[in-house]
Symmetry: C2
Subunit: 120 residues, 2 copies
């Protein structure tokens, strides 16, 4: 059973965090992917942190969790902070494979998305 | 003559800012769009701020500048700070149409991009 955990930075602004939770919710209702669970969590500031998101996926029965950093740039949060949190948490879930993907901004189609957003 | 100015937050980390400048550069070399100039600038922290980016586009001969906020969430930077900077700068360039688009995170294909990034 496969879970996707979208990890964003987290904001003091509730609506910003809600946008990410809504994005996860909208993906979870689609049937064009093989994730049984799609959740979002935050690196800091917000109420729902990465350990909460991992726990949620685990409770839903996930045997594999794909963690996707929802960040545009490969700053310290992406290169150090998220991997550190994940490494620390892995020992608590020895039966679950937890893997961190590239951050969103590394996508090869980011230039296309910029052009599309700029011209619509 | 049409310019695209990608506006990111700006980071203390030089490499993060460079990623955005490189993205703009890579778009500028493509020939599948109608922007004659593609530049990037930053809301704060970085050396090259929005007024610098606008000036650069103006010096290149732009008669229209499309400003695209390179942000994932519609926080205060997107809803207030960038529009305020642009409003303040417009009077300096009465002959140039300057327009701010939706921020990147508002893209209707963001969910697709998340899935694509999570599965590659």
């Amino acid at each position: 059973m496969k879970a996707l955990l979208i990890v964003a930075h987290g904001s003091r602004r509730h609506a910003s965090n809600q946008e990410v939770l809504t994005l996860a919710q909208s993906i979870s209702t689609r049937n064009d992917h093989d994730f049984d669970v799609v959740e979002a969590a935050f690196l800091e500031i917000a109420d729902k942190l990465i350990p909460d998101g991992i726990e949620q996926c685990a409770k839903a029965g996930a045997t594999e969790i794909i963690v996707m950093p929802y960040f545009l740039n490969s700053g310290k949060h992406v290169t150090q902070d998220i991997p550190e949190v994940i490494t620390a948490i892995k020992s608590q879930y020895p039966d679950i494979r937890i893997h961190v993907t590239e951050h969103l901004g590394a996508s090869s189609v980011m230039a296309d998305l910029v052009l599309q957003t700029a011209t619509t």
